[in-house]
Symmetry: C2
Subunit: 611 residues, 2 copies
């Protein structure tokens, strides 16, 4: 592709300034990854100042092109780019990594030009799939660029994302691999074997362009070629040198994650300044995105229409609820990993096929794409078996750091799934989700609360997780009941209660059974439906504990990190302790009722614990 | 490759019997995946009865060929194979999925012919990399076969494993992809595009053979070709039909995970029985593996040689300890994900290069391969930053279900890593590890306890996790001190103690500082080093709580699922509660000391909590 040669001197000078600022910031901080920035500086100078369409004063413009810095340790380069564009005062760049600065060691959305936090390698391309899908959803031609290191292409999540991006023909997505051939501790697996890289990407259906990542004309031409390529995404495979531009770091090992000492930095500046082109030519102008459309506003969700006593699995109610929600909220999308007929997200697909995305058996890219979608304003509901959400645990961790508005749902949790056995039983999903302090964690027991909590999840801004259940349960709530996040329901209560049993999901019904058995013996217990596990209604739990004298939790989850621990944390300040009924060993296959009995979370165990 | 045609009729009949038994078992169970078994029956009949070398009476023979059933939902097929081989009484096959039977819904190592539990798709090839590496370690020519479904090749972990298997030239590894083109809820992404499959595997360096998976001669020839292929692993890409052999299931959608009804099964048996070859010819004989060598016995590990007060990060002590351990225990191997210079596993590599495996930035295959190595008798220590072990969370879940002897180590945990920011800080690793009820979870505070606990980890059979620390800490223990798993150390104690502060790792030193500050004010506190978080010394914690009146935990971890919760679970039966000092929000970059202070886990916060 022909390029505008008049731009080259200025872009080269920008790249040199980016190198200088990256070194300056990391040397000031005393830590960081300058040589990682140096290898990508030419690629980023050309992208940001001669290719991307954005508003330097408004990084979150909804129709602006996106850049995901998947190699998050190149954060100083990203910050230098935004300083060059005018958004960050240049003198603030040396605040890098200070507690008082949002210029963190790896990028986070505390900065308005960061869509998702990066720094756990191999995640950025999945997020880029999400931002590219969002462009299609909102009918925009904005483009998404993802800068990766070559080392991170060892992560399987990259190939999950590559496969899906090709499947969805995301030609507005462009990956750039900064192939500097040096990892943290040694040479990368493929080193500078550019053909090996090209073969892999082509095998996954991508248009692949191999270039010298330090030849500005080649870089510009590659971006133009990517923009002109239709029907599949493009990857630019750029041969680069780590530490480029400084004689004693260029292509040298053992510089990863090391700032230059001040005297080394001084030598580096001198070398780099000597590389400035005297005749810089015209300053490139950054094209502005089109005017932003008005934000869409969701309508109210109609009330559920279940009948008391009706028998419906909460996973089925989930499928119905997200389908209804999407009818009143155009931002809502659903994502599946080939279990839509088990999670009932197939109902969503049938009603809203254009807002349903199939990721096949690839949970990491499903969650990562949801992060990208959420970062651009969609309200994504990725769902699969709760056990398999652990596959995306590191993505969920990064979603928490990003604070993105992602709505995870996991079905088929606990031993109550029965015969399929432990590999299919989520028994650590609450441990995973509640560990993240900004995650909302919900567990409805019936269809009405499921539907109401889906509406609450969508109305709440921030990451959330809902667990649903495989077996059917009876509808116990009136359609008019409300379920605020952070609340609970007291289902059985009397002045004579001698214990409070806290259940949720399937175990709530065991608690209700236990209540009836004990009542027949003249023993009264209070029964609580803890549908909101995080945040948790500490005051109500403390009150119940004080009034009844004892708190017993019962849950279809391992004992560590589950509902018992959540309740115990909530009531500890009042000096109350909790008796925990939970799964305490690796379970096995069997019938659901047998397993609930065997692992000590049935009505029988509750009755024994109360007695 | 030429094949012995005389074997074909008998192998076809075996395949037909495997189909019949798979249907019979799942129909008896009323759940399961018969059609998944039917597609792979020919592939498995040929593999098990005309290719693999094993002892049907001793599935764990150390030199026998291995089979990993990565598509774990084909468990009934695997069980039928072992019945056909004589290990399982045929009449027991209909005990499938019963609570009283080890024939679980998905295979687990409760059965002696299962190396690792499967059922979370995309994990088996990584385990196969491990068993193949083990063959090389012990100098055996045993081969490893991994049966996968086509749907699971969407999992990125498959491509992590593919890349590493090629890198290590594992020509004793053979993957078999049963390409029946039907996933759970719909057609697979690539359907029957055999060339697309071949292109991907070839791009990752594998020898790829495309066959008709129902043509027994082609199947036999493919195994022979795989055996003859040197220098890289082979994948057999077998075009198959789900539900093969029964007219109303063959190639039909909507049969995934559905047993045949009894009347359907009757029709199926009639159809299948009509397919038996009348002249079956010779019965194939299963070749026996060579005589097993004597098991190697580890020698005693020499005592550490640290000096009290010496300043050493526990991550460094970890590197030293595993290196020493490997010198006395030939079973010990180390696995890295390109951070060996941060975790100090580079010391192991320098001393024992033949027992050190580099997986680059691919944590899933690192942990999966460790599972395979452990299943065959090695004692693997995979290590990386603790934050990035969450990438392998689902593998760790399956390691727990497998009960394998894997020794995970995670460094750079908590806010005390400082400037790199939250993406690099593990703050949920204890939540992940302690959730698994059979995991041992350790967190040493100094170099001596690190080394002693590494020896304890190796001596203990079962999955274990050790967290190590980035900053240096002083040696506080004598080299002769012992650190049994499940113990703790009381470091400060007096009859006047008014509170017990439980620390671990970095926070132990904050607790010791707080002790000195309070002592100067005339306030006495007890200080405990909780180096073993699971199992936990409940009796000692209860005693300390009772004697001092208060328990305060302080940890560099999120509040949910961490040390505070573990202590609270331990002391709740005694009616004791715990005050938890932990990280309660998403942290940011800053200096280690600043962050420890800001997030409320410093000596200052402890002093305030005690006062």
């Amino acid at each position: 592709m022909p390029v505008d040669a008049s731009l080259l001197p200025n872009l080269k000078n920008i790249a040199t300034r980016l190198r200088i600022e990256s070194i300056r910031a990391t040397t000031a901080a005393g830590s960081g990854h300058p040589t990682t920035c140096q290898s990508a500086a030419d690629l980023m100078a050309a992208l940001f100042f001669a290719e991307m369409r954005f508003d330097p004063g408004n990084p979150q413009h909804p129709l602006a092109d996106r850049l995901v810095m998947s190699k998050g340790h190149a954060a100083p380069l990203l910050y230098a780019m935004w300083a060059e564009a005018g958004f960050i005062p240049r003198e603030r760049l040396t605040d890098l990594r200070l507690l008082t600065s949002d210029l963190e060691g790896h990028p986070t959305p505390r900065l308005p030009f960061v869509d998702v936090a990066t720094g756990s390698l191999g995640q950025g391309l999945a997020a880029g799939v999400g931002t590219a899908l969002n462009a299609r959803l909102i009918g925009s031609d904005y483009r998404t660029y993802v800068l990766m290191g070559d080392g991170e292409t060892a992560e399987g999540s990259v190939w999950e994302a590559a496969s899906v991006a090709h499947l969805y023909k995301l030609d507005a997505l462009c990956a750039i691999v900064d192939i500097n051939a040096l990892g943290q501790s040694r040479a990368t697996e493929l080193e500078h074997d550019m053909e090996a890289h090209r073969t892999r990407w082509r095998a996954f259906g991508w248009h692949a362009v191999v270039i010298d990542g330090h030849d500005m004309a080649e870089v510009l031409a590659a971006y133009a070629e990517a923009r002109a390529t239709k029907g599949t995404p493009t990857v630019i495979l750029a041969r680069t040198l780590k530490g480029k531009g400084v004689s004693f770091t260029e292509g040298k090992p053992n510089w990863h994650g090391k700032p230059l000492k001040p005297e080394e930095a001084t030598r580096a500046y001198a070398e780099l300044e000597a590389q400035f082109e005297k005749e810089a030519g015209p300053t490139p102008s950054i094209p502005a995105p089109p005017a932003a459309p008005a934000a869409s506003r969701p309508g109210p969700m109609p009330a559920p229409t279940y009948e008391l006593g009706e028998s419906i699995a909460t996973r089925e109610a989930f499928g119905t609820a997200i389908t209804k929600l999407a009818s009143v909220d155009p931002r809502v999308v659903a994502l599946d990993a080939d279990v839509k007929n088990s999670t009932f997200s197939e109902r969503f697909e049938a009603a809203h096929p254009d807002r349903f995305f199939q990721f096949f058996i690839a949970e990491q890219v499903m969650v990562g794409a949801a992060m990208g979608l959420a970062a651009r304003g969609a309200v994504p509901f990725p769902s699969t078996f709760a056990a398999f959400l652990t596959r995306a645990s590191d993505f969920i961790r990064m979603a928490a750091i990003s604070g993105v508005n992602i709505k995870l749902a996991g079905s088929h949790a606990g031993v109550s799934i029965g015969e399929d056995g432990p590999s299919q039983m989520a028994l650590e999903d609450f441990a995973m989700a509640t560990a993240q302090p900004n995650f909302t964690v919900l567990y409805p027991a019936d269809a009405v609360s499921t539907e109401k909590l889906i509406a609450e999840m969508a109305a709440h801004h921030g990451p959330a997780y809902m667990r649903t259940t495989r077996p059917k349960t009876p509808v116990i709530y009136d359609n008019a009941e409300s379920f605020p996040i952070g609340g609970l329901k007291v289902l059985r209560s009397s002045a004579a209660d001698t214990a409070t049993v806290v259940g949720a999901g399937v175990t709530l019904f065991e608690a209700l059974k236990a209540h009836d058995v004990l009542k027949a013996e003249g023993i009264s217990i209070r029964v609580i439906d803890l549908y909101s596990i995080q945040p948790i209604d500490a005051a109500a739990l403390i009150a119940a504990g004080r009034e009844t004298g004892r708190l017993i939790t019962v849950e279809d989850h391992y004992v560590a990190g589950g509902i018992g621990d959540a309740v115990a944390r909530a009531v500890a300040p009042a000096g109350l302790t909790v008796t925990r009924l939970a799964v305490t060993e690796i379970p096995r296959s069997g019938k659901p009722d047998e397993l609930v009995e065997k692992y000590g979370i049935s009505a029988t165990s509750i009755v024994e614990a109360v007695r």
